[in-house]
Subunit: 254 residues, 2 copies
């Protein structure tokens, strides 16, 4: 087993940022500048069309690292960020743009595209977790959480279903169609976000996916509003959920 | 307009407790021992069979007073706490006990009983709010919130529908049958709690009641588990919701 190969390091405002690769997959690990010998690790899955250092990722990472004392890792999904795009990726992106322009439903394109990415991404995440747990500041056997909405849920649900080292997860904002079977194999605590008036993902589908998780501890957070109105305070709630289940201390959250 | 008549005062761990009456109605006002000239006021409705100083009320009050700097007031509902029980109250309580013993559904008893209590309680709450706003440390025109689940929702939904001074409310855990019309007249931000596997209140009814609120900002929190498994962390979430909408500062919440 090998540690991740670190390729760059910087630091600002109490947070160390280290770029790494595990095999061909580029990632980033954010850690507290000072503090615990060992701390819980949170894996974050980015959204479709985004990448490991998208502002949504760096913002959440800062909150989880400086607010809760966690390590946070993100890797570029296949066809995203610094990774090459395949012909299939290009076709899916083109089809999605066309659907958005013509007002056709996006689900029939996103669901199979993301399911294919998940098949590639799950073993990549598992190899990344293997490597990160070689680091002394993380270690094997420590608490591991997962946070990912939208495409981060399309990849995260199969990952958490397959990976017993992940003991708490935050999901939401994804078409349920390809995820029911794997959700039914997840028993760890989850928090699941949805938009009550989502114009893209049908309400009944989101409720049915939440219902499908086998977890004894699960919380649905449904907020009024359309898809892109997903509120910022859900990131605060997710941080508190992770602190409850992974340990750690909330020091800087409102 | 008259201030409340204070009948007792005590203080412990940063919180002042003052018993009061407004007309015939006994209540309690909890306030920070030191601090702001004026602070937001949170009205809390207790549950069926409980009273103004039930541990669920004192626990939440401590959190809201010492954690957020709010004033918190509770009054005994008609037929509850220090108030006389009418023959109708006695009949409803007896019918409810019998239903619980025989396993008959409770909704058909609770819904009309609580609807009748709400008719009495709404003007009592309005007179109490009039009186409390005469106090210099609360004042007229300041932010006012409401928190009440179960019977506190049965009374709170008609109250908030009728009372424009209340600008944010936390509800949940109540049969929806008598509340749809008034929920449709509520436009202030709400947070609504339900138990996903509630054996007493049907899931679809709770989802339909959440849907009925006309509020542009509303959040549904559905947690796995039966009726009495309603989790403690929802009280923390309610406190944060009130801080977001009434002002104040979270200083002591995890």
């Amino acid at each position: 087993m090998n540690s991740p190969r670190f390729t760059a390091e910087s630091s600002s405002h109490g947070m160390v940022e280290r770029d790494f690769t595990v095999g061909e997959v580029p990632g980033v690990l954010w850690s507290p500048s000072s503090g615990a010998d060992r701390a819980p690790l949170v894996l974050m899955g980015h959204g479709g069309g985004a990448h490991k250092k998208h502002p949504a990722m760096t913002g959440r990472a800062r909150q989880l690292v400086t607010g809760c004392g966690f390590h946070v890792a993100v890797i570029d999904a296949p066809g995203h960020g610094d990774r090459p795009r395949s012909a299939q990726d290009e076709q899916a992106v083109a089809a999605l743009r066309e659907a958005q322009e013509t007002g056709e439903p996006e689900g029939p394109i996103v669901v199979p595209y993301n399911a294919r990415l998940a098949e590639l991404a799950v073993p990549e995440w598992q190899a990344t977790l293997d490597a990160l747990q070689e680091l002394p500041e993380i270690g094997a056997g420590g608490p591991v959480g997962y946070v990912g909405i939208a495409m981060g849920t399309a990849i995260g649900v199969p990952l958490v279903a397959a990976e017993p080292r992940i003991t708490a997860a935050v999901f939401g904002m994804m078409w349920p169609d390809a995820l029911f079977e794997q959700a039914g194999r997840i028993t760890v605590p989850i928090e699941f976000g949805m938009q009550w008036d989502n114009e893209r993902i049908p309400r009944e589908g989101s409720l049915a996916l939440f219902d499908a998780f086998a977890s004894k501890e699960k919380s649905l957070h449904a907020n009024a509003g359309k898809h892109f109105a997903f509120p910022r305070f859900e990131a605060d709630s997710a941080a508190r959920f992770l602190v409850r289940h992974l340990g750690g201390a909330v020091t800087a959250l409102v």
